[in-house]
Symmetry: C2
Subunit: 422 residues, 2 copies
């Protein structure tokens, strides 16, 4: 095992940068919103660029607004990159995305100051967009980097006010015709520090007690997400004049499926999720039996075959419920984003870095989407998860990560970068 | 048993009057809409008044727009009244309400022509409003007749466009300050012929076969309707990052209740109805566990004690589901309209009239609201139900009653009126 040369991380600086960013796009009530190419986004963009320059990094902004801060290494070759996104959801919290690029900046700064020039090049990436909260274009940053944005997309995507993405790009100083230039192969490995956005690590920490070593997550995979739209059609009879037997009640069919899918997921195991969370009832009148119900099924599992099996089982279950209740059933697949496995060697580096610092490494599957999802298909990629407070709540103003957990996460990131680049 | 002197009913005239009315307020696509005090309503009002006058009835329009057509009897005393409402729901069919006042007109006309002046006075009532489809004021006619309309109501009720009921009253030639003058005690008995608006009589007829005697319903009671609003509150967690165990999913709670209430109603018996037909999910986003679900419970039974028990059981069931799923539960009673028993002697007259004409009398409970519901609390009241085609569909353009069933209903009404008034 490698020796550990502990890199000192300025936790207070991490917090102050997070606070500074959180104020940009802050709403009078609630959280922060920095949609892609919005005014708040531009302000954050300039601020982050400034921080990187002050830290002595070689700053480069690519064609879509990703900010790269390079520390050239002694050897040739693509840099080891660490970062995350700087956009936010509406009423977003302080940590989602931000901890990843702020943490990378503080970690790389500390490494350079304390250990000098690295052997391999290092880079901080502040990615322009991941959330899909303004335009229906999520993973804009990582799709641009991997060359996955169509040339016409900037001229088609509009925000909820009808504003064209291309116009907002131009207003932000970018040329929508040059999006393709953001594509690059110059990533030797990608490390993303992120809050878990779920309750798993926190529950383990609670179970272990306050005196146990702090838990940090080593992400082994990003779960796959399948999305189905189920439409059950029955008959909108009068609730008073129509006896219970013989009704074709679409709402009861949907209720049966929602309950059954929960049991199905529990039967498959702790990594499986099947959720009915959006439901529309027609005509949705108290005294008319539901004639039609449309609901979504959100199916997740980190193993591709299991994820596909969950979707197929959900589809079957909907058809079964329809058959026994005299309903028509239509199932549309809205999308299927297959799981992504993190690079095993990098995950092992993360685990060892956590342990070397006296923390407790816990393998975990990422349940939500991340920049690492797309970058992980092209470059060796791993993620570090920190405990998320308030039961794991995220995408809301009361998203929380303790200063101690933030600091531990940045320490682990720095240690992993040290092992990879020095 | 009384002898039957068969009154000849002109079924073709019934159909042609129904057709004429159906054209007033007809939409280019779909059914008819004659909201209270609308232009279409005014046209129908004038037309019906004309028909009554042509038939030689003494026509009187009361303070809210109910049209009364009197045939004075030889003896003093309040008239035997037959009728129903002439307003319609949006996209309404040809029969709901209309068969009752058109049938009463044709029946009274035939009685007078064929049997001369009655012993007791007879009256046709074309009631101005029952559906509550334009203003939130259903039973406007029968509430006016029973003196149940508050003096300020015309100045408070508005339609969906914000138009004040008082203004539309004035535009229709009525004085909103004089609503109270429509109240009357001059009803000796009330008979309402109506389509069933449900599948029960039709299913019995199908089971009996084409050669069996035609079925006509003798309504014994109008079901009571309780309406609850249940709010289940859980936690809006991320569907990807939150394991299935430990979720507080409000949608699953609602699903459990909806399914359980159906079983509960089936257990109570064929007259019980418990329906969840309106459901709103928050935030209603595919990847956020339902944090709150609000749904209505529609509870019906013709026996007051059972109806109350259904509501109480539904309330309990919602609280039980909430408890086991870690949800908060709030149940609001939106209203409770107790059942109304029809007058036993009048129901018996209806039964005997059906049988005397060679039809098959079937006792039935009315599952929807009717003018008879309010009038039945003050005056001896009974209803005659005819088979409704298309599986009992109503409040829609494909509402249907066969000419033969319409004719049988009007014949029964005429025979019952003969027995009561001659």
């Amino acid at each position: 095992m490698e020796t550990t040369q502990r890199v000192e991380i300025d936790g207070a600086r991490v917090q102050s940068l997070l606070d500074e960013l959180h104020a940009i796009g802050r709403r009078p009530v609630g959280g922060t919103f920095r949609g892609l190419y919005s005014e708040a986004w531009r302000e954050a963009h300039a601020r982050i660029k400034g921080w990187m320059a002050e830290a002595g990094l070689e700053v480069r902004v690519d064609a879509v607004g990703n900010i790269w801060g390079l520390v050239p290494g002694r050897e040739a070759g693509p840099p080891i990159v660490a970062g995350s996104h700087y956009d936010t959801v509406p009423d977003g919290g302080k940590y989602d995305g931000q901890l990843g690029h702020v943490g990378a900046l503080v970690a790389v700064e500390a490494l350079r100051r304390q250990l000098g020039q690295p052997r391999r090049s290092l880079a901080v990436l502040a990615a322009c967009e991941e959330e899909g909260s303004r335009f229906t274009c999520n993973f804009w940053a990582s799709r641009a980097i991997t060359g996955a944005i169509g040339a016409d997309e900037p001229y088609q995507l509009r925000d909820f006010d009808g504003v064209l993405l291309a116009d907002e790009m131009r207003a932000s100083g970018f040329d929508p015709a040059r999006v393709a230039e953001a594509a690059t192969n110059e990533i030797g490995a990608f490390l993303e520090l992120h809050i878990e956005q779920g309750p798993i690590l926190g529950r383990m920490a609670d179970a272990a007690g306050a005196s146990a070593p702090r838990i940090v997550g080593a992400v082994t995979a990003i779960t796959g997400t399948g999305r189905l739209l189920v439409t059950l059609t029955g008959q909108p009879d009068h609730t008073g004049t129509t006896p219970m037997p013989g009704r074709r009640d679409a709402l009861l069919g949907a209720a049966e499926v929602a309950l059954a899918l929960r049991e199905m997921a529990l039967g498959v195991g702790p990594l499986a999720r099947l959720t009915v969370a959006r439901m529309e009832v027609f005509p949705n009148i108290p005294n008319v039996v539901a004639g039609e119900v449309r609901f979504t099924v959100d199916a997740r599992h980190p193993e591709p075959a299991v994820e596909l099996q969950l979707m197929e089982s959900a589809r079957q279950r909907a058809h079964d419920a329809a058959r026994t209740r005299g309903l028509e059933c239509r199932v549309d697949e809205l999308w299927n984003q297959p799981p992504v496995q993190m690079a095993p060697a990098l995950v092992e580096t993360v685990r060892q870095s956590i342990a070397a610092l006296g923390y407790r490494p816990v393998d975990i599957v990422a349940g939500a989407g991340h920049d690492s999802q797309l970058l992980g298909r092209r470059f060796p990629t791993a993620m570090i998860f920190t405990i998320t407070g308030n039961g794991g709540r995220s995408h809301c103003p009361d998203e929380y990560a303790s200063p101690e957990d933030c600091q531990a996460g940045v320490e682990v990131l720095a240690e992993a970068l040290r092992r990879l680049a020095y």
